[in-house]
Symmetry: C2
Subunit: 195 residues, 2 copies
DNA sequence: ATCTGAAGACATCGATCGATGACCACCGGC
DNA sequence: GCCGGTGGTCATCGATCGATGTCTTCAGAT
């Protein structure tokens, strides 16, 4: 938190090491997911000995939880059907990577503790705002519609990051946002289009 | 290929072992993905020694490719905007699991050979029919729209299988199909709705 | 100057996984 | 009734990864 008044940067600083580990872990988890990220990679990127992960956090899983908590502070809940929110979230995800929250939605059987935390995170941030909106709009099956929209959004975000679809990966935000607004909005039922 | 005329079931039959391995591998890969499936699991489920995987196929990756080829024969390309096609595919995926084809769309960096084969499979089966349809309908950016629809569909299918979203996981096909038709169709642009 | 506890570096363990190769059992042909 | 080849079993290797424990180094109090 507080910068060190003594100049030159101190060499022995557990708080700083902790922070470096959390930052590196957040980036790597966001990029590769939980399983495919090794503690050795995290340590290397952070410039910190991987053994300190066990020392400071208790293990890889707890480090993940700590990183997820930090990430949660950065990304508030967002109603995907509000253009500026959608754009901001999409931009944030494009720069930072989708993170294990999204991957957890889509993959069976991550390490259970991390898995459940990530899914809860996702439900709070994405599904619940949509569900509340649909319920307020009087749409039936608000929960199902909200979940379908969130799942579709997750699919698009993850595919875009993974690079499986060339045009999607290369698409500009300005092209993607209106397209996604259409798609996600259609979860209410295009046929009757109550708006 | 040819069934054994000598009754009682033969005990030494490499063709049958191969087939059992492919079937078990297809199920497990579909359920857990490539990385999270071990050759030991495959062997156990198939009732065949895992060492035979290397013998008959050359390795886990080649076994995956063989299983994917079989799966490809079962699931022909499908235009997601045709209700019966969508329903059939959704039902097939619900029973069998999404398979690594879908997971590959969404995850960065599987084992490269398998990864690329799975993605190619997906592009042929899902994206191309949609792209052709959109192009025929005169919609601009047909490729991007087709990829967004495929990505969204992948997200829904994977989430449903993974069970992250309770209402989605519990939803009946009859409720899901019309909802998905709306969502995927909206990729053409709800606002101007050229239909 | 000395002592002490925290911070960090290093070696290594135990488990897992894919793959390999040696070995055994059976079947058909001569 | 030996014999060769095929199908199958088994022990084990090498690599990877998370975790643990020990040793060293340094900062600050006395």
């Amino acid at each position: 938190m507080t910068d060190e008044p003594a100049g030159g940067g101190r060499r022995r600083d557990s708080a700083r090491s902790r922070e470096l580990l959390i930052r590196a872990a957040g980036e790597l988890f966001a990029d590769r997911g939980f399983d495919r990220t090794t503690t050795r990679e995290i340590g290397e990127r952070a410039g910190v000995d991987p053994a300190l992960i066990a020392r400071y956090f208790g293990g890889k899983t707890q480090l993940y939880l700590a990183a997820a908590k930090v990430e949660q502070g950065e990304a508030p809940p967002a109603d995907l059907l509000v253009e500026e929110r959608l754009r901001w979230l999409l931009d944030w995800l494009t720069r930072r990577g989708p993170g294990p929250s999204f991957q957890s939605a889509v993959l069976p059987g991550d390490s259970t503790a991390a898995q459940e935390a990530a899914r809860e995170h996702l439900r709070e941030r994405l599904v619940e705002p949509l569900r509340a909106r649909f319920a307020a709009e009087g749409v039936d099956r608000a929960d199902l519609r909200a979940e379908v929209a969130a799942a579709a959004f997750a699919g698009v975000v993850l595919s875009r990051w993974a690079g499986a679809f060339p045009a999607l990966a290369a698409a500009e935000l300005d092209d993607l946002v209106p397209l996604l607004l259409d798609v996600l909005g259609a979860v209410r039922g295009t046929r009757q289009a109550d708006d």
